[in-house]
Amino acid sequence: MSIAPPASPQLEVSDIQGDILRAYGNSFDHTSYAFVQVDCPPEQARTWFAGLLDHVTTAAPWRPGEKPLTTLNVALTAGGLAALGVSGETVGSFSHEFRQGMATRAGLLGDSGVSAPERWQDGLGTGAAHVLLTINAQRAADHRRALGKMEAAMREVGGVRVIVRQDAQLLHGAREHFGFADGFAQPAIEGATDDKVRGGGVPERHGRWRSLAAGEFVLGYPDEDSRVDRRRRLPPAPAGVLGRNGTYMVWRKLHQDVALWRRTIAAAGARYPYGDARKLAAKVVGRWQDGTPVETHPHGPDPDFDAAAPGANDFRYGADHDGRRCPLGAHIRRSNPRDALGHDGKLSLRHRMIRRGMPYGPPLPEGAVEDDGAERGLVFVSFQASIFRQFEGVQTPWINDGNVFGLGDDKDFLLGDPEGSGKMTIQGAKPFFLAPQAAFVVTRGGEYLYMPGMAALRAIAAGAAG
């Protein structure tokens, strides 16, 4: 079946909020996520909301020398839309899972036991969080100033207050707390990030790649289904102006028990027949700590690996059907199977996400294997046109299950909740069973949000969003 070339309209970058299509970059390494609760009539809240809009950063490219000191982006929960006066009917046009909220869907996401919503941080998952302000700054002083301005604007109007503020900052070397380089592998979006196509796009025949339709990530544009639709219909989106140039956002605070991870890997690594703890950890993740893919370099990291280089991510699982190079259940193989599910990547291509998370909390000192009680982890942020298909569609069948990979009850060893088989098979001539799986990552809370386009934000502020 031939796929007609897409008639991809140009992305309206000045109407799309920034950081969705292209990351701001590692220089913006001071971040705050401020969840605001509205506790006043919608008209009053809209006064405050309108005051934000001049400062919201768009996706319009920065000319040299015009890089802002700080950036601001705004997203809303279903409750937030209502609190700002958006009608019930219009809120009803948003997706089912967004309106239900993450806490209600915790069962699907594997957020049970220690990760259950009852144990979440105060303010998250209760319906109290209405508006999320994300502030990024290049320097600490600008960060503080931006926060100060945010607080002042709220005090001036009254009736709105920050109920949860999560600060985050890049760790040295753009690593996350388990020590792995993170964030550089992103989908190739047609018309926005075609430079990432080799490795970030859809794997096609003869080693070729193609970018994904923009509508997979921003609403109001054709998505991958539109490509195969004779009538070229657009994917479901909220009604009216809200449905254009916006996208859904997933925000999750994931606590990482670094000490537990180190102890577990060290103990198992001592028994691993093919190498040491470092190699075992790489097999679990699917990358070495510097980001070198295990699929291309199963024995050790590539000294010349450069995560920023265009072809850095250009690999497929191809002939590695038995997982002897990169284990079948490795984290990155689960979260983006590429061609590993067969059928020319057709079963994977609709489940890609843009990820923009940041680590939070101080690093655990090198070599420490006892927990120091500090709060540390990853703020996971993703953007996608469909939370159900792209976020939940990875979390439930690929991270928290092994069936589709032929792995039975095995869950992602790094991330999955331990209430499964509790093991990971490292395939090889001498297969190694890594056990026991423990709660290395615990969900501290999260929200499903919508990040509207600029015109949509203005319509909400004017009470004209329907």
Partner: protein
Amino acid sequence: MSLPAVSPDAPPRNVHGRTTSITLLTTQKPWGRFWMPFMFASARAAPRVLAAMDGLSFISFASWTLIRELPYNGPPQQVRRLRHAHLFFEVSFNGSWAQYIDSSVRVLTTGMYTFWGSSRRFPGPLPAGPFQAFFKAHEIDCSHYHCAYPDATVTIVRSAIELERRLEMFAHRAANIPSDAFEDAWEAFLEDAQEYL
């Protein structure tokens, strides 16, 4: 023009453990009453037709039936030969309702035309959205659904069956080889069996 949204979750009574049921009744176009029996016979004669579906390994049981009339049990049942032929479809599979449809339409596109082509208002398998809506419009919900091994997926069951066969063979061998040969035999067994564990 954009597609309407379809709620992605299955009603809870259609689910038992990790197994989900779908039950569907669709009205046939007139040619369906010849096409469907022909397709059934073809599928029986050449089971490879279902190889793609089988390969996806998430459907445990499925059946298709063309219904023209229902048995009569006397009053107050109304004696009626149905006006149209109807296709009855039932399936048990692993995973979520919407993920099932999303995967099926992309990979089983030809099969979708084969089985649904004669159903009225069939929108074609792609894009997935209208096909999901088609399913929703014709779906009947269970009042009670039971699975004898609700948490075992198709892949696990297949692995377990294959593993049992190999384990029996190995256990038999192991009891009959000298004790110092066990270690090598165990490693060879494990290397072969790892994909089923």
